[in-house]
Amino acid sequence: MGEAIVITSGKGGVGKTTTTANIGTSLALLGKKVCLIDTDIGLRNLDVIMGLENRIIYDLVDVAHNRCKLHQALIKDKRFECLYLLPAAQTKDKSAVVPEQMKRIVTELKQDYDYVIIDCPAGIEQGFKNAIAGADKSIVVTNPETSSVRDADRIIGLLEQEDIEPPKLIVNRLKAHMMENGDSLDVDEIVSILAIELLGIVVDDELVIRASNRGEPIALNPDTKASQAYRNIARRILGESVPLMSLEQDKGLFKKVKQFFGIRS
């Protein structure tokens, strides 16, 4: 029996779907059997980022209404035997599914998979309630921005009322130089405001966007820092204690860059 993890943030555009795709891919790389569920009905993206858009035949709403068998709607990943996706419907809206149906689907999936990763839509309405219905654990994604942290705080408050383990935090799109200058929130500051366990920090990288556009999660490319961060997060989910990628390293890199410019000018 596997476990279901919901990935949520409250605010839109912080990188929930990218995080879901990359954590799923990283867990699959580590040999786990993983199923991703996109619950963003009406605005589905996870299939695009996974590069599986053109393989969708049935979707979450069809399964919820018993129009097809669960295994018929699951799409096998191109690259991994052990990675599957349950896509959302694009033509309906969030109210097409109710929490009870989600619970049933997630429970069924947990029988066959080690990890069920649920991609939550933005907001705190029906879509959010659906997404957290079957979850055992939760991960809150935030950006180092005040508005995003505010929303994450709200979401954590809502998650604490549910029958879910205390949520864990991923700080996404961290810009080291902005944090250095005090132009964006500090990771320590974010953790002290939200007061939950930090699961990982993902630095901002244009390569992540490029990879998403190509339908290949960045986690597949081991050379980038973002990819390393996602793989570390996956290992932490498995229970390994992996130290946080030191930000001093970033500092070193930043100093090097500054030095580089210093020499040039």
Partner: protein, 227 residues
């Protein structure tokens, strides 16, 4: 036998004069109607001796262990006011209803809560609030009494939310987005000065909320000590 005499002599109402005014002792062992009729007679007779156009005399009415309903209180006030140049200052009763007692008890209690108040969450208590945790931006705590936050107050705090203007807000880290005390409010917009160990209180002179460091609080609100 004694009771009969008492009834005959109408001794349920006794009047005592002091420097501050009159004290009306109303016996609590008779019916309310008996009291009323005796009051009427007693208050009329002396008025014939004194002039009725003197200054108004405050009256302290003591009803002993008798519980008066609001209507009864109103009736008493009316009778005393009509009869002479008397003005009821207070009506003192030694008994209160269970409801009132519980309300008073709660009003003086400190409710301790150990959790974080996150954005969008509301915590409202009767009496004083002792919060062991932070109030995050967007969070709201309110109390009919004082608010003490053991962590950082970054959200909204409303002390004395039912009008008690002597209420205070105190926090280990005071960076509130809004402080309200009774019907006044305070927004720190100019300088975001951070008080480690700060308090907010209502300054009666200017009728505005002031933020200051904690150690001046004992001078301003000595009533906070409950030793």
């Amino acid at each position: 036998m004694a009771q009969k005499q008492k009834q005959a002599n109408n001794h349920y109402v006794t009047i005592k004069g002091t420097k501050e005014g009159l004290i009306l002792n109303l016996d609590d062992n008779c019916t309310f109607e008996q009291l009323l009729s005796e009051l009427e007679t007693k208050l009329i007779h002396p008025s014939e001796n004194q002039g009725s156009d003197g200054p108004k005399i405050p009256v302290n009415v003591r009803v002993g262990k008798r519980y008066l309903t609001e209507q009864q209180e109103e009736l008493l006030r009316k009778i005393i006011y009509q009869k002479k140049n008397l003005l009821v200052d207070v009506i003192e009763s030694e008994v209160i209803t269970k409801e009132e007692a519980e309300f008073l008890k709660k009003e003086n209690e400190v409710t301790s809560v150990n959790r974080m108040i996150r954005s969008g969450q509301i915590l409202k208590v009767q009496g004083d609030l002792l919060l062991i945790g932070d109030v995050n931006p967007g969070g709201y705590v309110a109390a009919t009494g004082n608010i003490f936050v053991m962590g950082a107050l970054k959200g909204i705090a409303h002390a004395g939310c039912e009008g008690r203007s002597s209420a205070v807000v105190a926090a280990s880290v005071m960076i509130p987005s809004l402080v309200r005390i009774a019907d006044q409010m305070f927004q720190d917009e100019e300088d975001e000065q951070e008080y480690s160990g700060g308090c907010a209180f209502l300054d009666e002179e200017n009728d505005e909320i002031k933020l200051d460091s904690l150690h001046i609080l004992h001078q301003i609100r000595p009533g906070l000590n409950r030793l």
